[in-house]
Amino acid sequence: MDKLRIEHLTCAYGKRIILEDVSLLVPEGSFVGIVGPNGCGKSTLLKSIYGALTPLAGERFLDGTDMKKMNSREIARRMAVVGQENSVTFNYTVEEIVMMGRTPYKRLLEPDNEKDRDSVQQAMARVGITDLAKRRYTELSGGEKQRVILARALAQETDLVLLDEPTNHLDISYQLRIFDLLRESGKTVLSAIHDLNLALMYCDSIYMLGAPGGLFCGPAGEVLEEKRIRGTFDVNCSLENTKEKGRKVIVYYGGRPEKEVEHE
């Protein structure tokens, strides 16, 4: 079954059209990536899916239900979002921020219960921030903040997680750990990803925005091939075999594709 289905989405900022007639499918349990050069509309696409932007046209279905017919609480119980906005106004502790992930489950004045606390503890343990629980969020490093935001999304206990370049501020160890964690969690994931090698490594299927022929989608290995990367990102690169059988890695030679590099 399709967890998320987007049909004929068109988005614009003012009169400038960013995305035109984009359709997208996220099957249940899959890991779907969105890649593309800066300014191609990755964030715009995600934002119009989670409702921060109102698209000009298009339909969105979550678990087969039209998202227009769901209120934001219902959506928040099925879909968590890790956006790029992660500044917080006042001094909250890490634990308090992660607890905010429980908001969609709480009625007015309902206090936090055992279930909420468990879910917060688990989420913090999974991203490795249990030690930071009582620290102030504003005092954390960029990478720590990002993990807190991720823990908040995990505490939301949704089947679907939308992420907008979630590993931006993370060192390589945490980049891999976070993606491992997401893939092993059994959650359905739709994520904008900067690093093409990470996308190649983790995604079942990939949507490439800003490609010469428009939107391109397919299994990760088919989308991320030399010619298409070169055409879309304007870089010189090749795909090389690794020691691990069947796994390839993208190697870059510079940002100017007209200077072809000889390689086997």
């Binding site: 959506i75 917080v88 007015l108 102030r136």
Partner: protein, 334 residues
């Protein structure tokens, strides 16, 4: 946990009792309790006792109780508004209430609007002015069905500047002493005009506003992670922003109509509360309310005693005491 709830309640009760006793007419706490009991039993007393009762009923009880309620309301309003506009320097009066009230009340006095209402003339004129300024700002900040917080913040500053200019213009054109005095009241505030006759209405209205802000603490917390994020956490952001601003407008308008623009409480109490217990609205909102109420009635007690029998504006006292205190805490914490 119980201790944490009990302490503010005890301190509040103690402060209210103390403030009933402080003033030009001396009343000891025990005499105040006896006087209250006599009033409840409708019993008579000696001449001195009757004087104490009159002072309590006519002045101390309304100004202390209303003062406490207004302090709570302004502080909670400020706490919520600071969160809504993501700016710790916001104060409920940025919505334009105090200068809106000042200009319409001053003009009303000069032009004789609602003169038949007697002592209620100024509160009615002021209240209408505050309401008009905030209603205008609300409509002005609407942008495609949502309330634009930046526009609200800057628009409020614009309206206040305009109102201020109007006030000075009216004073110049109608240089009568009572008009000038009225301006000082609206911009600095004072609880001397508080009356028992509308005490219950004000209490109910302000309590309802504060409670509404309080029960939405989870949504307010989520909003501190940004409007987009709050939306993904299931918070009806647009609706919440509009209702919250309306509620804050009502509580500010009521406060201004009764006791003018008492500055500083709405700004300092929430910041102090956050320094003490952190940002989480579940804790910081009640603590703000408690601090706001308590600080305001103590400041009012000071305002009516230091230069007795002449009173100074309570807003001046809040600023003189609150300013240094705030700077001290800020330096210690940040």
């Amino acid at each position: 946990m119980n201790k944490k709830i009990l302490l503010p309640i005890l301190v509040s009760a103690f402060s209210i009792l103390c403030c009933l006793c402080i003033g030009p007419v001396r009343i000891t706490p025990w005499q105040a309790v006896l006087a209250l009991r006599r009033m409840l039993q409708a019993a008579g007393g000696s001449e001195k006792e009757v004087l104490q009762e009159v002072v309590l009923v006519q002045s101390r009880i309304p100004r202390t109780i209303i003062g406490y309620a207004v302090g709570c309301a302004l502080a909670s309003g400020g706490a919520v508004l600071q969160g809504l506009v993501h700016n710790q320097l916001a104060d409920p009066y940025i919505l334009g209430a105090s200068y809106g009230a000042a200009s319409s009340a001053t003009f009303g006095l000069a032009a004789g609007w609602f003169a038949s209402l007697g002592i209620y003339q100024t509160p009615v004129n002021g209240g209408l002015g505050a309401a008009a300024a905030m209603a205008f700002l609300f409509l002005y900040s609407l942008k495609g069905g949502r309330l634009d917080m930046e526009r609200l913040l800057l628009g409020g500053a614009g309206i206040s500047m305009f109102g201020r200019a109007l006030v000075h213009l009216i004073i110049k054109m109608s240089p009568r002493a009572f008009v000038t005095g009225s301006t000082a009241f609206w911009t600095e505030g004072g609880l001397a005009g508080a009356r028992l006759s509308y005490l219950w209405w004000v209490l109910l209205l302000l309590a309802a506003c504060v409670l509404y802000l309080g029960i939405r603490y989870r949504d307010l917390n989520a909003l501190q992670c940004g409007e987009e994020t709050a939306g993904t956490l299931g918070v009806p952001v647009r609706y919440l922003q509009k209702v919250m601003i309306l509620v804050i407008s009502v509580l500010t308008g009521v406060s201004v109509a009764i006791c003018g623009g008492i500055g500083f409480v709405g700004l300092v109490a929430p910041n102090l509360a956050r320094l003490l217990v952190g940002g989480d609205y579940r804790k910081s909102l009640p603590v703000s309310a408690f601090l706001g109420g308590t600080v305001l009635i103590w400041c009012d007690a000071v305002a009516r005693t230091v230069f007795a029998p002449v009173e100074i504006s309570v807003g001046i006292v809040t600023a003189i005491i609150g300013g240094p205190l705030f700077l001290f805490f800020l330096k210690r914490e940040m």
